[in-house]
Symmetry: D2
Subunit: 361 residues, 4 copies
């Protein structure tokens, strides 16, 4: 029941703070005899790693993952897989100001109210650093999915909005995602996003974003009818990512505006295959996958670690101001793209295994 594990059949448990010696996770429930090495996980971590462009934090964390258990002679054994990453960039810092004040929009205040203490060194468990282990677990989940599914399953994320600048979906090209520092599928918006973020950083502010994650090549039948619906688990997975404030599936909030006949995706036979004429459902009906693309979107708020001074209070109960110095992302949404992909991967691996438990493959 404690909150540092995710999933049931495929379950990972993470630990570690941004300013401790290391962070890690234990992935349990992985089927045996899957080829797995650090090379299968590292590329996903590299995509998330900070310091790769001027639009993400300049902290230097190589984020080299090591596998400590659960793999023998290059294959999973069925035993728990422990992954660990050393924390490298822990510069000595002057915490004297921040240690006494709550940062508005941060978890400082709520952790203090809950646990009765203040770890002033950084975000602790609330740090975005925790998301590195989600990405690592996601790398393992992808291997599980590849191993068990007949057809390739592509789980891909993209940034589709920064502040009020939204991509043009007509220009969507998955190949573009890897060619710009924003994971944008639309090359036409890259320059205006770059301009916006340069201005945002210079003004000591930050920007929000929207991410879309899509799984293509989905099997039909994954999910559960009632409380562990596939979309409910995705909603939890995405909303559990730091700074996320909203989650949509398929047409999402837009579905509220559609008429019934426009929202219900019509069906046709194409040879002996069922096809849908649209995908308002985002690939899920009644909590179970249809086989269409699984489409989730989530909104990331602008980080509250900004230079602009804000009103706050301190531990002594006095009014004061705070401005957060340091190496922060002007748009934390960018690095949330690989995290969102990873969370979709772990949800799908979990539902695939539990489907195999109850129904078989």
């Amino acid at each position: 029941m404690p909150g540092n594990s995710f999933g049931h059949t495929f379950r990972f448990t993470t630990w570690g703070e941004s300013h401790g010696p290391s962070i890690g996770c234990v992935v349990d429930g992985v089927p045996p005899r899957i080829a797995l090495g650090e090379d299968d996980i590292q590329p996903w971590l590299d995509r998330r790693r900070p310091g790769q462009s001027r639009y993400t934090t300049q902290r230097r964390e190589p984020d080299q993952v090591r596998i400590l258990s659960g793999v023998f002679e290059g294959q999973t054994t069925g035993a728990p897989i422990a992954l660990v990453i050393e924390n490298v960039d822990q510069r000595p810092r002057d915490y004297s100001e921040i240690s006494e004040k709550f940062r508005p929009g941060h978890a400082d205040y709520t952790y203090w109210k809950k646990y009765g203490l203040r770890d002033y060194r950084g975000g602790g468990r609330a740090s975005a650093r925790e998301t590195a282990m989600r990405v690592a677990a996601g790398g393992v989940a992808r291997k599980v999915l590849d191993h068990l599914l007949d057809q390739p399953l592509a789980i891909r994320g993209a940034l589709i909005q920064i502040a009020d600048l939204v991509i043009d979906r007509e220009r969507w090209d998955w190949d573009e995602v890897g060619r710009n520092p924003f994971f944008s599928p639309d090359p036409g918006i890259v320059e205006s996003w770059a301009d916006l973020l340069d201005r945002t950083r210079k003004s000591g502010s930050s920007a929000g974003a929207v991410i879309e994650v899509v799984a293509s090549g989905m099997p039909a039948g994954l999910g559960e009818p009632a409380y562990d619906k596939l979309d409910a688990d995705l909603a939890k997975a995405m909303m559990s990512i730091n700074a996320v404030k909203g989650v949509e599936i398929g047409a999402g909030f837009g579905a509220a505006v559609l008429r019934g006949e426009d929202n219900a995706d019509e069906m046709r036979m194409e040879g002996d295959r069922v096809v849908f004429l649209s995908n308002s459902a985002g690939g899920v009906l009644g909590g179970i996958s249809t086989g269409q693309d699984l489409v989730a979107r989530f909104a990331v708020k602008p980080t509250s670690s900004i230079l602009t001074p804000r009103k706050t209070v301190n531990l002594s109960g006095e009014n004061t101001e705070i401005s957060t110095k340091g190496r922060h992302d002007p748009c934390v949404g960018i690095r949330a793209v690989p995290v969102g992909e990873a969370m979709m991967a772990v949800v799908l691996a979990g539902h695939l295994l539990r489907h195999r438990a109850q129904v078989g493959l």
Copy 2:
């Protein structure tokens, strides 16, 4: 792990299909010595009951709840509380057409793909009837919250949008919610919603909606840092309700458009109390409650049970058309209001008990 239970410390497990003899749930983990009777649960069910206006289905289900266990001499004993509701309105029906065809936008197809069978009598577990037991469990959860909290906690929901007709938040009045058939907090929109739904029903169509649920009087400190964040659990809870396609907390998707300094809720002392100057966070920071109002919104798609004929396929793999006759809600979002409240109540009861486990009250 099977998907018909919700929650951990406060857990309910439901069963039953829309066309079976009854539906029920078992609520486990309830503290002992809380006064509880059917009268504490029935009023919430009555709010959700169909057939109360011409804007909801004309099915007649009295939805009388009975407590079968876990209560002795008017008090909870700590043992599991079994609740049951008889299914009354099971008119004999001709299923010959529907039994062979998949209804677009319904779970028919996905259940068939998952389980390999077709319960043609109705929605089975996918029926909105299942939500009655969520409301019943929510009634128990409210009693737990009342019992354990020092201050009254009000969990209230309202309909804030049907199709593209959005309420005017300036006119928000909680007292109005009980005075119109739509749970609208804005009396000014009731007439236009009524017109819209009359037209929608006459045209054999349906409309989507957006619901907002707010908990006022929240204690600070409820929630978990990583995967079981309070907002993540709320997202799962709301997304697990039938027909929901999107969930937001606080500023939600709107947060993506805000600048960092506008999104971070500033803090001030008011006497010896911390107050926030805004509530973009919706009452949650880092997955833990701030003590501000907890604000969640969710979008409900228009029901796919419509008279307008739609293209579909049948069990024999042939193209065909379907039009769903019967007594359906033109806007299923209306009756989702008490369901959303109930889901917030069970999430909060669960987090309150697990907070008591780890930290104490």
Copy 3:
């Protein structure tokens, strides 16, 4: 987390008190398309039913089970299966004496210390009546095992000891188990057990017993290495049965006296099959089944509901005496035989499904 559910992939949740209107359970995680009717469950309940001989309580409970959900046209649907049994024999009784006193050896005192209240009508959740739902869930589990396994799996229990009268294992004959009121596999001991229990009842006392449960036709490979070892889960399952005070696997406590070379079961090839030359392991090594017979034994204490007066205290904190009148079993161990079988069935069904999740069948 609340304690009224058992299992993970195959999970049942029970509710109900001995003096309430009914008792029930919800079985979740059952694979779809298994033929299941009340006829598949009732025979197991009939074996456990009281009042079938003068050696069990004379309470009259027909224990007719009804399936309320999860089955359609004679097949499981994959939805939760709700089972219910009405409580018939609730004679009005005078509780004036018992309601104020604690019965030594009963849960009266511990429930009162835990929950702060006293349900004086009977055992409440502590009543052996609760075990009826274990047997019902076990009936469903057997169907799951039959459905998924290639070879027939026989789960059979027998009474092997009452007080200090132990069967002669040389005379073990499974066919005898159904031919005497004690579930004895040894016909030679029946008369002495009958004599003993007649004397026990007349003297207002009670007797303990030892039960052995064996699964034959086991697949190898079921179980988990560390905490959810197959034998660990069996130990929990058996120890959770009312009045059980000890559990053994294979050689059990006798293994402590063996030398290493005598305890380690040697292996030989028999054609292309591995056979073991003995079964000290009881069919489990390292928490995982070997394919040999799975052998568990458990000890049941003599019931404390006896006529012989015993020293106790009352709710007012005064010393007093108590003697328990009523229709109690002189040896509750007898009726524990079908309960032990049922618990082994639910453990095996759960491990089979989780094995299918991680490894496949």
Copy 4:
């Protein structure tokens, strides 16, 4: 659901193989603001450490534990606590013989049947090395119990039997346990045990043992009525320890031989306190603690790692023989004493936290 986690409210998850770089665990659910350092855990590990007498394996593992997370400035923060121990003594070894053969009485065969692979380097997850992390988690659990309970709770284990040599309970002295290499509470038996084990080792054999673990200073009211009974969870905890084949509570299997009036512990008032005149129950009634000493016993089989050659089969399906060389314990039961204590500690910490969740302290 995967099997490498134990517990719910207080939960630990372990990882690591005997021949990997390290082993570790993550302890989740620990209350905040408990003073905790490596010094609180190391002494318990030192008691279990091999190589401390000639009666335990001569492997040299310093077993130095490190805390990697969840503690800040000497106090728990409420975040998960990661513990790690480096594997030091990994001598290069010739596995050519053992890698092809199954060791009778070991998990080699069952792991191979389950996972389809053979980690020939040692026991892998089945190694007794895994129990080091149980002891570490137990150290944390003890701190939780100390922190939350009003009165000191002593959890102490003792070896009470090796082979057929049983201690004299009249001579029981807890202080003696630390003064001999066997954790014996009876100094009178130490010499005969030493003789026995010297002979056992010389003859290339091994011996079984029985351990008793007692918690004194127990609060009444811990436990659950149905499936998560305190004794059921203890049974699972103890049976999950490597090589354990039987578990008893209180009178245990001896209860089967008692008459009802002798087994039921009578109650008396002693001032305003309830006292029991005996403790056949072992401190648990109806799954809930009475406040008396909690008494559990478990039997450990003789290790199968013996020099005496035994019949077995190899991976090619041929009959062969095996004799296990190496540095093995002649009586693995000795080092099981601190492991048994640790398992009782984690069970009690878990039940204390879940009791606080549902009922409060």
